[in-house]
Amino acid sequence: MIRIKSLKSKILIYLILFATIPMLISSIMILNEMYKTKKESIFIRHYQILKQVEEESDNIVSHIEYLAVYVKDKYLIKKTNLLKGLIRVQKNISAILILNKHGKLINFSTKNKSMVYKGYDYSNRKYFKEISSGKETYWSEVYLSPISSLPSISYSIRIDEEHIAVLVINLGLLNDFVKKFKSASKDTLVRITDKHGVYLAYPDKPEFISQQKLILNSDIYTKYISKNYTNKQIIYNSNRFEKYIGVYGTSKKLKWNIIVYESYDYLFKTFNTLVWFLVMFIIILILISIYFSIRFSKSVLMPLEKVSINMDNFTHNKEVTDIKDSNYDELNKLVTNFELMRERIKHREDEIRLEIEKNKEKDIQLFEQSKMAAMGEMIGNIAHQWRQPLSVISTSATAMLMQKEYGILSDEKFENSCESINNQAQYLSKTIDDFKNFIKGDRNLEEVSIKTCIDSFISLITPSATGNNIKMILNIDKNILWKVYPNELIQCFINIFNNSKDAYAKDCDNKLFFIEVHENGNTLDLTFKDNAGGIPKDVINKIFEPYFTTKHKSKGTGLGLHMTYNIITEGMKGNISVINEEYIYEDKKYKGASFIISIPKNI
């Protein structure tokens, strides 16, 4: 089922939607593009830093490996002086230990005072075990150094079969190195962890290094590092719910995790302000659009609505108000044209009313004409019909007179003659009554016996039927009572009969006229059928039109069937149709016109 909606609200909604949605979509797209561009530029900057730190980290590692090789080459020559000299000049080395082949500390040099003494046994340290097992060099994991009590990493190298050098790396140096990379908010940009997630450099939180803190229990680790999401932009939260943006990668040599990051909120502060202003601007624009949409819709739709109301009022014969001029030419034209149309319709209505009245009068005249014509014909028929009874009466009277003169008038003959005269007079009287009823012209809707109507009709046309040798075959349900205009209905039957009668060929010696009347639920079905050969196809659709006739002017006016049509369809709200029908009657095939009338119960 189609839901009827208000055009006004629909247009208003569409106006607002069309005014706001494109603006919203384009704004969102612009903001999205701006956001993407901003992110992209941040990523490029972070990525460059990442690559630089990766390279530098590898350089530091390479440098320490180079120093270890130097110690290997020179230790046996320079011994303590070499260690002291290196510790003095190499900031990234916090201690150099020389172990003998049993793991005993035989020489060392440290940057700061320590609780380490020559003779200490480090044979259980992993670096000693690794070198003893045959490796030439070994990078340790982060461990708590007993020398400095600080987390450290070390690089060990075999000097010869008797000696092993262990270079303990100052993680502070790595921290100092990454300190150089500052963000716009003056925070450092870089932090480094080893491959197990232990912090090696974190200038903002140096305690993370001293505590050997791990990155494992953090958003960045679970979301990205554990999934090896390297060299791509990442956004994560800190444990304090601060949002960060950055990129992470791994160094080539020791697979350190290098994270370049910046505060998301800080970086996007300006952007967010811009977005805020833009959003506000868009909201204002949208509000303005909505305001103008409403105004525009009002200025356009108000006159339309008034036209619509006026049309409605005009349709329902209510008072029509004046519509003020609109600012729009098209609307003014519409209003003017509506007014013009209204005037013309009114004028046309008056004309039609006049025409209808004229037509009504004309119809009455036509009906009267038709009736008079029928009457004339009927009178002719009656006159013809009366001849025989009058002749019988006259013959009976004359016979009685002659019999009396000759004295042969018996009582029995007298009574028979009188009875015959009386019968004929009664017959004539009935004919007169029927005729009188017919011409009386009362137009009352009344419940009558259809059989009686048919009988009256038969009575009226019998002279004509007899004179034309037309055999009437009736098939009528008895006791049908129906509300009709009896006289008009009889007139219709007469017209149909006359149409058939005139259609018979002169030489036809077996003229049949069938009348069937049946009650069919709420309709009364009447069929009048002849065997006059049917109505030609080219005229069958015109026979109910006024003044249409195929007969000679002396025979027909062309109004009979038209009147019949009007009486049935308009007077009694029924239907009348005509078809050509072939049928068999008493084993003989016939063809003729069949008029089918149906009249509803409640007219």
Binding site: R125, Y143, P146, K195, Q211, L214
Partner: protein, 364 residues
Amino acid sequence: MLKYIIIIAVVFNFTACFKSEKGDIQIGFVAGLSGKYSSLGTSIRDGFILAFDEIDNTINGKNIKIIQKDDKQDAKEAKKIIDNFVKNNIKLIVGNATSSMTAVSFPVINKQKDSLLFSVTASSSEFSNKDDNFLRLQVEQSEKRYIELAKYIKKYKYHKVFFIYDGNNKSYAKGYEGFFQNMIIKNGGIKFVASMDLNEPYGKIVNKIKDIQNDLILIVGNSIDSANIIQYLRINEIKSKILISGWSKTLDFIENGGKSVEGVVVSTGYDEQSKDKKFLSFVKKFKIKYGKEPSVFAAQGYELGQILIKSLKQSDDISTLKDRIIKTKIFDGLQGDIVFDKYGDVYRDYFVMEVKNAEFIKVK
């Protein structure tokens, strides 16, 4: 229309804020995480974090946030941290690692109505048999704990014990000075022949040891200090049998001590050589995660993590957590069941281990 948008935005924002506060379970973690005392704290932390990593730091859809703090084995720092936890409404605190630091946090937590301090390693008897806001996974200091050790000493006829302790963890050292000394006396021994603070210069300690006749040196200190002093004693030709406290029973004690710590004995409730499937599985997982062997303290940290996970799964209401743990009573440990008494203390059999070929081996 705008009015509704604003209302919706405000409501949404409010619920979002509400959610972020209510959606997480915050656990404070405090221990000595830096410097020479950090070996114990970082070991506990690593084991503890591993337990939560296994469940993706999520319990019943809520994120677990572990806030780590370093007390640096400093009472002022420990006080500041515990006050800060209380101020920030962190109800569940794991720590401290040493008894001295726990003694700082203990009274603060006990003033709170619905907070809980859960220490992995604090063993001081100061916290025993109290219906308080404290739980621990370490067996309290008591004479009972030293029965096996006293037997060992008696068996090998060690009479003269030279006691070296770390003055920064007196609460713990007291247990040895009290319960252990009493047990020795009960077993026919005599009082410690001397005692010295480990923080004194090593030379001074060595001289005193040389001056006073002894056959057993008891060292109560962290792993680095214990290993260093033992190395120093050995290079100074001091051959006495050395007994260390469970505090220094970490892998870096052996790594830092080298061959000098061979033959050192320790009284402990955990066996690194345990073949318990759960323990072996933990060791494997720990090695994968951190690339190193776990110490017993890491194992205890892991056990504590699992106890908390099991209990927090039932409910994250910290006010009833202790009662629920005590009610559950028995938890699966890595080396046998962990059984809590009605005060929240645990009991475990103690035995003697000796360093042999760079490993702690159970003395039969």
